[in-house]
């Protein structure tokens, strides 16, 4: 507590009786980070960590996009030699793994880390230090994958890494281990962030914000966090068992010794299918937020949308076998998964109808974020339709593992998550940076993305029907795929241009965009109550919430809470359902230990693909770091 020594203050100072300027200055000081590089590395502020997370995830998006560009160059012509098979296999594996584990899931969690505390009206995410640890683990996992790729030991077994191809007998060198351990890094990061989101939403909501009246984006992130908790352990079990098979000679997946190659697929897809919804559900949360603001009315059927989110999250765990229809499963079992896969269309439809009614009965103001929502409707609904096709066993047996499926999931993921994400970036950019993004560039950005995407991916449906399998590094001239592949490649480059424009717009607007003010869009949820960008403590006063869109409901004056400390980090803990205040809990101070713990974990994880003993000494190393993390620094910290 060096700060306390530098500026003597009374032991306990509450926010009652301070004038606005002093209150703000004191709170910003208490919640701000320490100066210097150590301060930068020690911060536990959800906004700083969220921003780093978002920027890092966008860097991985750009890198993964470069790989996609190489893929499309290679496939533009038959029998082409832009890259050879070995490099191509590393490229498509790294592209897929990067986009799923280093971009799509983290970027959604990053928005959650940044926005959820603001939207529920609290001052930091729960367990701020865990958030810092999560970010460093994510960064380490990403760097690990990319450095491996540059050193020519990038994984080359596909993002699904099926055994035996990735197993001890056929997986080359350490390439599959790099894949498996990158999973561990990113899953640890994701699960930590998921626990933070859940606790923040459950316990740190502003007084009065009932669970049912939370913004839909917060609901989406809550459902996502639960899905992460129940889905991600599966892929960790799969990847850990794979490393054990490869490193110490276990036989989980070796049929010659009683293991099973299909076991790996079950474990992988038990994670892999919910994963798609872990990416898509935050996208729907973003769509709800944007539609609400730009239609200038609350989303029609608030409760119906919540039910739909929860139902989607639960059904998503009953779909995994539809990735395995070609493995020869018994009819009854496979058919069950057809029914489940078809059923999930119902909650998705429900959300769609609620949005349309909202727009129809509202008075939509068409700005870039809403344009991207329209793009989402066009693309995602088409992807949903092809999703119903692949749920049918006979159709799937034809199109499974072909470019039809490549088209399908890019429609679902880019349409369902990336379009909303870009819209959301245009929407929340003013909150994060204090400046508006350029609207004219935004419109260009949208049309290039929309046209480029469809030109790139629509032809792939036809390519799949024409028999083009996935994951081929080239194809012969005599199968009739040339024209469509060339078209697709042209579209891919238009799409890439749109991303270039997007990044350029962000970079330029961050420096010279029009100042935004608190609430440039006239939105109704709490994040727009904070300054843009928010001060370290988010809100000068913790609001008391009376309505799902508090800023629309309370026009004259805002009800607030008083009695919170200003010279130590204190938040209000409220009850689960009704959000009645329960406890004034202290919120973690800045600490360098999460970084140290992340470094220790990184050393242990990387070493353990070379030696099983690394688990033992690495575990001890992590243990020491964790003791440092949790050991109280001063007696004052306890008193407070």
């Amino acid at each position: 507590m060096r700060r306390a020594a530098a500026i003597p203050r009374p032991a306990e100072q509450r926010d009652t009786g301070l004038d606005d300027a002093e209150l703000r200055e004191r709170l910003a000081y208490t919640w701000g980070r320490r100066p210097g590089i150590i301060g930068w590395l020690s911060t536990v502020d959800h906004k700083e960590i969220g921003r780093r997370y978002i920027i890092t995830a966008f860097v991985f998006l750009a890198l993964g996009g470069l790989l996609a560009a190489i893929i499309r160059l290679q496939l533009a012509r038959p029998e082409s030699h832009v890259v050879g098979p070995d490099l191509y296999n590393q490229i498509f594996t790294t592209h897929g793994s990067n986009m799923m584990f280093l971009f799509a899931v983290p970027v959604m969690q990053a928005f959650s880390l940044y926005l959820v505390p603001l939207m529920v009206g609290t001052r930091n995410i729960a367990f701020g230090r865990l958030g810092a640890y999560s970010y460093w683990m994510f960064l380490a996992g990403g760097v690990f994958l990319w450095v491996s790729f540059i050193l020519d030991i990038g994984p080359d077994v596909g993002w699904f890494a099926y055994v035996p191809l990735s197993g001890p007998q056929y997986g080359i060198g350490k390439r599959p281990d790099v894949w498996a351990q990158m999973i561990t890094f990113t899953e640890v990061a994701s699960m930590a962030a998921a626990v933070q989101t859940i606790v923040t939403v459950f316990k740190h909501r502003a007084p009065g914000m009932k669970l049912t009246e939370m913004p839909l984006f917060v609901w989406a992130m809550l459902v996502t966090a639960f899905m992460i908790i129940f889905a991600m352990p599966a892929v960790m079990v799969a990847s850990t068992s794979l490393i054990l098979d490869r490193l110490v000679g276990t036989h989980f997946f070796n049929p010659a010794e009683g293991g099973s190659a299909l076991l790996f697929q079950h474990l992988f897809w038990f994670f892999g299918h919910p994963e798609v919804y872990i990416i898509f559900i935050p996208g729907t949360g973003m769509v709800s937020a944007i539609i609400e603001t730009f239609a200038r009315r609350p989303v029609f059927g608030h409760i119906a949308v919540i039910i739909s989110l929860v139902a989607t999250g639960m059904l998503a765990f009953g779909l995994w076998v539809h990735h395995m229809f070609a493995t020869g499963l018994p009819e009854i079992g496979a058919s069950f998964f057809t029914i489940m896969s078809m059923t999930i269309a119902i909650p998705s439809g429900l959300q769609m109808f609620c949005w349309l009614v909202t727009l129809f009965t509202g008075t939509p103001v068409i700005r870039t974020p809403l344009l991207f929502v329209f793009g989402f409707f066009f693309i995602f609904v088409l992807g949903g339709m092809t999703g119903i096709m692949v749920a049918s066993i006979p159709i799937d047996l034809q199109v499974h593992d072909t470019f039809f499926v490549v088209a399908h999931f890019h429609y679902v993921l880019i349409g369902g998550a990336v379009f909303p994400l870009i819209g959301a970036t245009y929407y929340w950019f003013p909150k994060i940076t204090g400046r508006m993004m350029n609207e004219r560039l935004g419109v260009w950005n949208f049309w290039l993305a929309f046209i480029g995407f469809n030109v790139a991916f629509f032809p792939m449906h036809i390519l799949g029907i024409l028999g083009m399998p996935r994951r081929v590094y080239t194809y012969q001239h005599d199968v009739g795929w040339d024209g469509l592949n060339l078209t697709s490649s042209i579209g891919a480059f238009i799409l890439a241009t749109s991303f270039g424009l997007f990044f350029f717009n962000m970079w330029r607007s961050a420096r010279g965009g029009a100042p935004a003010g608190r609430n440039p869009w006239g939105a109704g949820t709490l994040e727009w109550l904070a300054e843009s960008p928010p001060l370290p403590h988010n809100f000068d006063h913790i609001p008391v919430v009376t309505h799902a869109t508090p800023l629309w409901a309370e026009r004259e004056s805002l009800p607030i809470v008083s009695g919170i400390s200003v010279n130590r980090r204190e938040i209000v803990v409220t009850t689960l359902i009704e959000a009645r205040p329960e406890v004034r809990e202290s919120s973690p101070d800045s600490s360098i230990w999460p970084l140290i713990a992340a470094i220790a974990t990184t050393i242990a994880f990387i070493a353990s693909i070379f030696s099983p003993w690394a688990v033992v000494w690495g575990g001890a190393l992590i243990g020491v770091a964790l003791i440092g993390w949790f050991w109280p620094k001063t007696i004052r910290e306890d008193l407070e």
Partner: protein, 336 residues
């Protein structure tokens, strides 16, 4: 617009004379035909639904409205809530009904697919990195024979293939005849083919299987029953032993060089089982799992340096003199 462009490309491709011998749309098998009908039906129904949603979106965008009200007023004014709930409810019911109907149609179509699984297979298809071993069963050893990368079947007869793998997972897929089925080590799978008209249909491994996954093709030749019988009789025979000239010299080179360690030529001492059986190589249309058409030139190029044709293939380059290469090529081409 984009869709039209795509279809135009498709059409122009077809008109340019490309062979759509690997297309699910160009069905020639009973299973592929059933699936294609179902696919078309799904495409039309779902396409119309998609179109309806898009029209709704356009209507929403273009609807004329009174001057924008403040969002605060929208909170209070909730006229029409009941009607809107009814609209959402009916749309939801319509979704559920559509989905249920499509599910039932899908189940009806899948019945024959699962029906014959128990029957015994007459042909074993074994996946290797990166080629297909095809074993024809028979009542006596003399009736059995092995070939590679080319599957002959009689038209109009149900043929069950057992699908096995000795290394990694592969997937057997000949779109014109049927959907795909995986070849998984330690797991017994099978698939049924019923070719309705004679023709040559191309297939390709559909499960990523490593470096040369892209070059693991296979041809299915469906022919009239008598033609098939003739082919089968020819395949059952051992290789002819050439008497003179290059082919005879080539036969000698083949068994004295490493070739014989990996390849079998029935009727000679070459009995390796690591690579494809070459007993009747000359009768096949392609080499290298459908990488190159079989010609003396391409075969010589393949033997001289398989890795320049198919990088990473498991066949090592064999050191041969120029005349030895010519002789081996002549010998193998002659194995009809």
């Amino acid at each position: 617009m984009i869709r039209r462009m795509a279809w135009m490309f498709l059409l122009s491709g077809a008109l340019a004379g490309c062979r759509d011998w690997q297309s699910a749309a160009n069905h020639a098998g009973a299973e592929a035909e059933r699936i294609w009908s179902l696919t078309l039906l799904f495409t039309i129904v779902l396409g119309l639904i998609w179109l309806a949603v898009m029209i709704a979106v356009v209507l929403v965008i273009r609807r004329r409205r009174a001057a924008p009200v403040s969002a605060h007023d929208a909170l209070i004014d909730d006229a029409g809530h009941r009607r809107n709930s009814q609209i959402v409810g009916s749309l939801l019911a319509a979704t559920a009904i559509t989905v249920a109907i499509l599910t039932v149609l899908s189940f009806i179509t899948q019945r024959p697919l699962f029906a014959g699984r128990a029957s015994t297979a007459g042909i074993r298809l074994i996946g290797h990195q990166w080629w297909w071993e095809v074993r024809y069963d028979g009542a006596t050893p003399a009736e059995m024979f092995t070939t590679a990368n080319e599957l002959h079947i009689p038209v109009g007869t149900r043929i069950r293939l057992s699908l096995e793998s000795n290394d990694v997972i592969h997937s057997f897929w000949v779109p014109s005849l049927a959907g795909k089925q995986d070849l998984i080590p330690g797991h017994n799978n099978s698939i049924e083919l019923l070719a309705q008209r004679p023709g040559v249909y191309r297939g390709q491994c559909a499960e990523f299987c490593g470096l040369q996954h892209a070059h693991m093709g296979l041809l299915v030749i469906a022919e009239a029953p008598d033609a098939f019988e003739k082919w089968q009789a020819a395949q059952r025979a051992a290789a002819q032993t050439p008497q003179d000239g290059d082919p005879a010299k080539g036969a000698g080179v083949f068994v004295s060089k490493p070739c014989a360690l990996c390849h079998t030529i029935r009727g000679t001492s070459a009995g390796g089982t690591f690579g494809p059986d070459l007993t009747h190589l000359g009768s096949r249309a392609y080499i290298g799992a459908d990488v190159l058409p079989l010609t003396p030139g391409s075969l010589a190029a393949w033997i001289a340096d398989p890795h320049s044709v198919k990088p990473g293939v498991n066949m090592p380059p064999v050191q041969l003199q120029g005349d030895e290469l010519n002789a081996v090529t002549a010998y193998l081409i002659g194995l009809k």
